[in-house]
């Protein structure tokens, strides 16, 4: 993972600041940096989003393709994740340098998103055992400025919200052979419900307190952090400890509570931004470097 080298004095300065609920950039412990979200940025995907969280810059594209359902879940579609750690984010990712991180993030994303309680996988099924939609979620790391997981999860949720899957009909004749017919109206498409799609809130243990949305410098001061995935209703769906240090049960409970609280607020503001953006309609001028 991308990291910065800090001197002992700098670390002390940060730790002491956190102790006082005052972070280097002036935030409190439960404050997020400013998040920029823009959807529908890549026109040849089914859905896409770009999220900027401080210096962290993430682009997510969702591509819907037809496939066959998995044997154990004959009437569900599924999601596939691929995370590309671009070398433009940090020179360490050059060559195969980013592969380990990419796989780690992808595995986390599988655990959090690819289940029917987060995404309604049944709507992705076209005909049981034969055809279903497979959503290929491609995550591209453009810049790392700390708190990757949270930024990625926001971007994935925004991209899923933006995803439009063409509506298809299965025609069946007397002989039982099936043919797939595509609607010729491009507006005739399925939207996914993102109601239950969780977001990740990462809590970094710094000193005796914990902070959300840690910057790279803050991450360098933390020995252990907790990844909590929270739905908009404040339900924790998944939890994972990251880092080499240990956490005592009491502080885990505390951190979970913080995660729930912060997560609910995060969901609410994301939701309102997404709806606001959509209400601008297709004529909205695109901004950002892809506009």
């Amino acid at each position: 993972m991308a990291s910065v080298a800090l001197s002992e004095a700098e670390k002390v300065y940060i730790v002491h600041g956190v102790q006082e609920d005052l972070r280097v950039d002036g935030r409190g412990c439960e404050d997020y940096r400013c998040v920029e979200v823009e959807t529908d940025v890549v026109s040849n995907t089914s859905g896409s989003a770009r999220v900027k969280l401080g210096h962290t810059d993430i682009l997510v594209g969702v591509k819907a393709e037809m496939g066959t359902p998995k044997l154990e879940k004959p009437n569900e579609g599924y999601l596939e994740f691929f995370v590309d750690c671009s070398a433009s984010a940090t020179p360490e990712f050059e060559g195969r340098g980013g592969d380990d991180l990419g796989t780690e993030i992808a595995n986390t994303l599988y655990r959090i998103f690819n289940n029917k309680s987060s995404v309604d996988l049944k709507t992705l099924c076209i005909s049981p055992r034969e055809h279903c939609w497979v959503l290929y979620v491609d995550v591209l790391l453009l810049e790392c400025g700390g708190n990757l997981f949270d930024a990625i999860s926001i971007a994935v949720k925004a991209a899923l919200f933006n995803t439009r899957i063409p509506r298809v009909r299965v025609l069946e004749d007397e002989e039982g052979s099936k043919d797939i017919e595509l609607s010729d109206d491009p507006y005739d498409c399925i939207r996914l419900s993102v109601e239950n799609v969780p977001c990740i809130v990462t809590l970094c243990k710094i000193g005796c307190r914990h902070v959300v949305d840690a910057t790279l410098q803050e991450e360098a001061c933390s020995l252990a952090s907790l990844l909590v995935s929270v739905t908009s209703k404040g339900v924790v769906t998944c939890m994972r400890k990251v880092g080499k240090g240990s956490l005592d049960p009491e502080s885990i409970f505390e951190m979970m509570e913080t995660g729930k609280r912060v997560g609910k607020v995060l969901h609410a503001s994301l939701q309102s931004v997404l709806h606001k953006e959509e209400s601008l309609g297709p004529k909205r001028q695109k901004v950002g470097f892809l506009g």
Binding site: V168, I180, P186, Y187
Partner: protein
């Protein structure tokens, strides 16, 4: 301004793809009206007229432009092509839709749009900032296109108003879609249906005839009775074909029986290759050449191909019962093994309609506007058309296009397209047979001519590169009299070592026709020169065919030479190919060359050269025949034309001299040598010619016929066939051998061009050669041009190009060439048939000796050796009592009353031109000898009035 267009597409693998295209909108696209200040009017190509002086329309008297929608363009292209219709705006949206739906109509509209006289303007509305529309929610692609068209129409009307205040110019939207028209009128666009508009053109009433009559869906139930079962939709057919319930194939109507057809099944399915369809209902509105889906009937309903000759003569629609009776007539008891797979058409996969030539059969009812049209091609059913000019069209050759065939109609509906001229006129008939056989015969376009070398032409230094100078050799050409496109010349000389050097020099056409240019494309399209009795339709422009490429005597010409060193036993010791420059010393006819060889006192260079060639040719021919090459025969005729009227005054069968076979022998040798060379060099993409061995069943008729004369014909190999044909002689019947050879020719398969990488059977059955190609006539065959290019690359005399080594492209070329060659042959035959008619018209009625070639159930097919003419003698006529006919399929023989007819029997027939039926003037033959009371006509009544009673009979039949 940049927009991106996004659309979804289904991939072949069944997936769905999202495709994004960039789409640029511009604001500098002109409206096409000259003098429009806003657009600057600066653009090239045809434009609209500033003040259209169109034939006055009673609906909109002021000057106007027309703006048709897609369906009008697709269905009423014949109207739009009429010179009376000018100033039409063709939208890009419309053009694109037309292109997706019908390639031929697209080509036609492009041709019209390029014609300056027509003032058609193509407006790129999809890229115009103000007329571009995006697909909206809940709108399908068709609705969007309709809206785009309306938006453009509206824009035009507003735009033209801006031009000047007192401008009366209007754009009229033409659509046949009722809803679209209503919407347009709501939006303030003047809109009419095509029919309304054309009918309002009071000055051009003839245009109404060219309207395609498309019945709107609601009207279809008008005359209740449904004759045909419904066609299944394409999606069902495809599923059925996939699952094997239906079979897909090409529908081929029978020329001799309108109630019967065969379907050639596509694919490699060995059994059921050919399916028989019998009866109107089973044919189910399929028309010759359509791609159809058929369903096999249960074995109990299988039938055998009938040997009855039946022509559709009914005028009346309600004759369906009668048809059924006729259908029953086809189903006579036949032995089990004669039964063939039988089926019925369940749906049409692709229509292959084209405009058909033919004549009008005027309706009996005087005022009626509905008439039947009888196509010249007997495989095409009659077509019902609506016209007001029936009386002027009577007795003319006309072109009619089919619009559709409703389920309740006995005949398809169509509309009048073009009047070709009076029937029987030589120009009209030639035009008809060229059109019917799809022979491209328009004069060469400017684009094509621009690639011709500039005159005066001479050989330059550059041309001499990679070329051998053979001008010193004593080369001469031998051709039929009057030949101006000489593509081969020969020489033969003795070398110092005692061996002979033989050269075949072929016109170097590929030097002038460079790959890929318009000249090359046009020649590739034409494929072959077509020789009609009095006309030649050139494959390459005349400058090349009769001058620069023609190896005329005493001028320097570029050639491609194939030079062998041979010993006196005609064994090839060395072969050399080279591009060369030659100077022919003499252009001889076959007769002149023969004369030189035969006259002992001529000993000049040319004559010795000819004698040497002749000697070698004889050895070559003998060797070829030993290998099993077939000598077949087909009666060929040549007309003596009157030099002024160009009417045939005499007929003569072609005479064959030794020199004919001498030239032929060396051409064969050159072709074989070249074939070997190019295949050696380009094993995957050599253009070769093969002649497949016919299946044994083809010979059945020949073997049976010979057996009836106590002769045995062996057909297991080409060699045994050749030998048994040689042995089949009868001392009392000298012509028998020729007849057998004519029959054998009919058993053969077609020789075809193919690409060596696409096939592995190269054998040429007729010539008994393992490999063969065409090299020797590049002026008149495109295949030879390709072979020249391949050979030139092989010997390093020319450079290659990508298409030359693309075997799929080559396979496409072969396909076209095979088609063109077949069509050229048919056109040639049709031309001979027409001239034979002209000949007998002037000659009157004659009686001649004839031989029976085939025996049919109710007729015999005879050959008259004197004229090389073949004809059918019918024994059943409508108003006469039917004689008792007993047909035996095994021998085969036909017994009429007490007389039995066998194949090869000698008969005497009376030949006359039957013009009672103006539709098809034909040579009619009737039996004179042997005499059968009630059937044969007495020999002495030569001035019988043939036309009188026949006319009466037609009326009775109605």
């Amino acid at each position: 301004m940049l927009k991106s267009k996004t659309f979804l597409k289904k991939t072949r693998a069944g997936g769905v793809m999202k495709i994004v295209r960039e789409h640029y909108l511009r604001d500098d696209i002109g409206c096409g009206a000259p003098g429009c200040a806003a657009c600057g009017g600066a653009h090239e190509g045809p434009a609209l007229e500033p003040q259209p002086q169109d034939p006055a329309s009673s609906l909109c008297p002021q000057p106007h432009y027309l703006l048709p929608d897609t369906n009008v363009l697709l269905h009423q292209i014949d109207v739009l092509e009429d010179p009376a219709i000018r100033n039409v705006i063709v939208l890009q949206t419309v053009l694109q839709e037309v292109r997706n739906r019908s390639a031929p109509v697209y080509k036609r509209i492009r041709d019209v749009a390029n014609n300056q006289e027509k003032h058609f303007y193509t407006f790129t509305n999809e890229h115009h900032r103000e007329t571009y529309v995006e697909q909206e929610q809940g709108e399908n692609a068709n609705d969007r296109n309709d809206r785009a068209i309306r938006v453009a129409a509206k824009w035009y009307n507003e735009h033209l108003k801006k031009m000047s205040a007192d401008n009366q110019l209007q754009v009229i939207f033409i659509t046949n879609d009722r809803k679209n028209k209503e919407k347009a009128i709501e939006e303030g666009i003047p809109a009419f249906t095509c029919e309304e508009y054309v009918k309002s053109l009071t000055a051009n009433p003839e245009l109404i005839d060219r309207l395609a009559c498309l019945s709107e869906e609601g009207n279809e139930i008008e005359s209740g009775k449904i004759i045909f079962s419904e066609h299944l939709p394409l999606s069902k057919l495809q599923q059925g074909i996939k699952s094997g319930t239906y079979l897909q194939g090409t529908f081929r109507a029978s020329r001799e029986n309108y109630l019967e057809a065969t379907v050639w099944i596509h694919g490699d399915n060995e059994e059921n290759k050919e399916i028989i369809l019998q009866g109107l209902k089973h044919l189910n509105r399929a028309i010759h050449e359509d791609i159809v889906a058929v369903e096999l009937l249960p074995k109990s309903q299988w039938v055998a191909p009938s040997s009855v000759v039946l022509h559709d003569e009914g005028q009346n629609e309600e004759d369906v019962e009668k048809e059924e009776e006729r259908e029953r007539m086809l189903k006579t008891a036949v032995s089990e093994k004669m039964l063939k797979p039988t089926g019925r058409v369940v749906g049409i996969i692709k229509r292959n309609w084209r405009p058909y030539c033919g004549m009008l059969s005027k309706s009996d009812i005087k005022e009626s506007r509905r008439h039947l049209f009888t196509p010249a091609d007997k495989r095409i059913p009659r077509i019902r058309i609506e016209t007001r000019q029936a009386s002027t069209l009577e007795g003319r050759r006309i072109i009619v296009a089919i619009d559709g065939w409703p389920r309740n109609s006995r005949y398809p509906n169509g509309h009048f397209v073009r009047n070709l001229g009076d029937v029987g006129e030589k120009e009209t008939e030639t035009e008809v047979l060229l059109l019917e056989h799809d022979v491209p015969h328009q004069p060469f376009s400017q684009a094509v001519l621009s690639f011709l070398p500039k005159m005066p032409w001479s050989i330059t230094e550059k041309d001499m590169k990679n070329r051998e100078d053979l001008r010193h050799l004593c080369i001469c050409s031998v051709d039929p009299p009057g030949c101006t496109d000489i593509d081969d010349a020969l020489h033969c000389r003795e070398l110092e070592n005692g061996n002979l050097e033989v050269g075949v020099h072929i016109a170097d056409v590929s030097h002038f026709i460079r790959p890929g240019n318009a000249l090359d494309q046009e020649s590739a399209r034409r494929g072959t020169t077509v020789y009609l009795c009095e006309k030649r339709i050139d494959m390459v422009p005349e400058l090349l065919s009769s001058n620069l490429c023609s190896l005329k005597c005493d001028v320097d010409r570029l050639a491609f030479s194939c030079i062998w060193e041979m010993n006196h036993n005609a064994e090839i010791l060395k072969t050399k190919f080279t591009k060369s420059v030659i100077n022919s010393k003499a252009s001889l006819t076959y007769a002149e060359a023969q004369l030189r060889i035969d006259s002992a006192n001529m000993n000049d260079d040319i004559t010795t050269s000819l004698r040497g060639l002749n000697k070698l040719a004889k050895i070559l021919k003998k060797r070829r025949i030993e290998k099993g090459a077939l000598t077949l025969s087909s009666p060929e005729v040549r007309f003596h034309m009157d030099s002024e009227t160009h009417d045939p005054i005499d007929l003569q069968t072609k005479e064959l001299r030794e020199t004919n076979s001498m030239v032929e022998e060396f051409m064969l040798l050159a072709n074989i040598s070249v074939a070997k060379k190019i295949h050696e060099e380009f094993s995957e993409h050599a253009l070769l010619r093969k002649h497949p061995a016919p299946p044994p069943s083809n010979y059945e008729i020949l073997v049976k016929a010979a057996r009836s004369r106590n002769l045995e014909i062996k057909t297991d190999t080409a060699k045994s066939l050749a030998e048994s044909l040689d042995r089949a002689e009868s001392p009392t019947f000298p012509y028998l051998n020729t007849l057998l050879r004519i029959l054998a020719t009919r058993c053969m398969m077609q020789a075809v061009y193919f690409c060596s990488g696409m096939d592995n059977d190269f054998h040429h059955y007729g010539l008994a050669s393992p490999i063969y190609t065409h090299f020797t006539s590049p002026i008149r065959r495109y295949a030879d041009v390709i072979v020249h290019r391949l050979l030139a690359v092989a010997i390093g005399a020319d450079c290659t190009y990508p298409e030359l080594t693309d075997k799929h492209k080559l396979a496409d070329i072969c396909k076209n060439l095979n088609f063109r060659h077949k069509m050229a042959q048919y056109a040639q035959r049709a031309s001979v048939a027409f001239h034979t008619q002209l000949f007998f018209k002037s000659k009157g009625i004659v009686s001649e000796e004839a031989y029976i070639l085939f025996v049919r159930k109710n007729a015999i097919v005879v050959l008259i050796p004197k004229y090389g003419l073949e004809g059918t003698v019918f024994f059943e006529e409508k108003d006469k009592p039917n004689p008792q006919l007993i047909y035996d399929d095994e021998i085969p023989s036909l017994k009429i009353e007490d007389t039995v007819f066998h194949v090869f029997d000698k008969v005497k027939v009376k030949i006359m031109l039957d013009s009672s039926n103006l539709q098809h003037q034909k040579i009619r033959m009737s039996l004179v000898e042997p005499q059968i009371p009630g059937i044969s006509i007495p020999t002495d009544t030569s001035n019988m009035d043939l036309n009188g009673p026949k006319k009466k009979k037609m009326k009775l039949g109605k």
